[in-house]
Symmetry: C2
Amino acid sequence: MTKTQPRTRIQEKNRKTILDAGLDVFSKYGFRGSTLDQIAEAAGLSKPNLLYYFPSKEAIHVELLEMLLDTWLDPLREMEHDGDPIEEILSYVHRKIEMSREYPRESRLFANEILQGAPRILDALSDELKPLVDEKCALIRQWISEGRIAEVDPYHLIFSIWSMTQHYADFAVQVDTIMEGKDPFDGAQKYLDYLFISMLTPK
Amino acid sequence: MTKTQPRTRIQEKNRKTILDAGLDVFSKYGFRGSTLDQIAEAAGLSKPNLLYYFPSKEAIHVELLEMLLDTWLDPLREMEHDGDPIEEILSYVHRKIEMSREYPRESRLFANEILQGAPRILDALSDELKPLVDEKCALIRQWISEGRIAEVDPYHLIFSIWSMTQHYADFAVQVDTIMEGKDPFDGAQKYLDYLFISMLTPK
DNA sequence: TGCGTGTTTTACCAATCGGTCAAATGAACG
DNA sequence: CGTTCATTTGACCGATTGGTAAAACACGCA
């Protein structure tokens, strides 16, 4: 089960180059719509050279998805019982916004995979994502029962955080067309803060 | 500039069948990831037969996008100056939710196009979508200046409506995995009502 | 210098891609 | 019936697809 480690410095570098190029292409066109030639050109390598480092197109995609899932759920994991509930939720929103700003390609890669029916990630959604979401929803319900936040459906609360934050990465072209040059992220953070404070502060 | 009308009943029927099959395939795999063979099989027709009704793969895609845009903006157009601002906004949210429930494929087709950089729709975004959004944002600002809704950024307000409502169509696989069988739309509507009333009701 | 290992390229393959064409079929009508 | 036009099909095309094989190259090291 241990992953084969790159042995040389050049292998490490070229694998990273290929994965970065693959992220560029896959995040735009999805798995089926992407070609090895595109990835090869983006990486500045020849197509057979790609296949020297990865056994197949799918292997590149799978490795990208695995790397993605590893880090994608971290922000949610960090939402914990300790502090003030609303601050915990706002921090989670901030982390998600920051990820959309810093890693928009990863967000789009995920969106593309889900749009295509999540063929290579569905098991991970059931085995990793769902239990984590269930756990955090139980935490949110506890906050509600303690009267520390307003009574909202925790699942839809999480969906709304995901959708609004990832929207700025996944639909960046549309957002940029409408906002015309202005950076959307600062305004988004202020808006989302206000939104969740309004909704979650107990009456 | 007038569109060539189908002349016979059988043409009308087959064109509809092809467009429906194209919507199935394109909404899942995007333009580049979809093949004429897939569409032909989904339509129950032979590939050359498809090309008897449409000149090319792209022509099918373009016609789908044009049909989509025609109806996609209607819910926003209906948001008007007349009634109570919060009711107007909630009605818009309801219409958007209903479109995600009734036409999830159209939502995913749009999402795929935007993810791929909107190559066939970017002009329409600038020429049709942006002016409409600008107009409605001016309306929202007027409501704010009249003190009838809380002071929120109208652009991010619209983005948040789009993202949260379309999320239930675009990420249906993920939502279903987490909600396990339960219909998400009823809960979504209740949640979104509460969210926007909380946020928009003037203090 | 030569040797072995790791890396890259050239040439190539079968399968699939979007699309064409001409022939075959179907249906309406006198 | 025969004619005409709309429809469907099978055979095919060049380009592109993911992937392979083997030779060429690069480099460290004795």
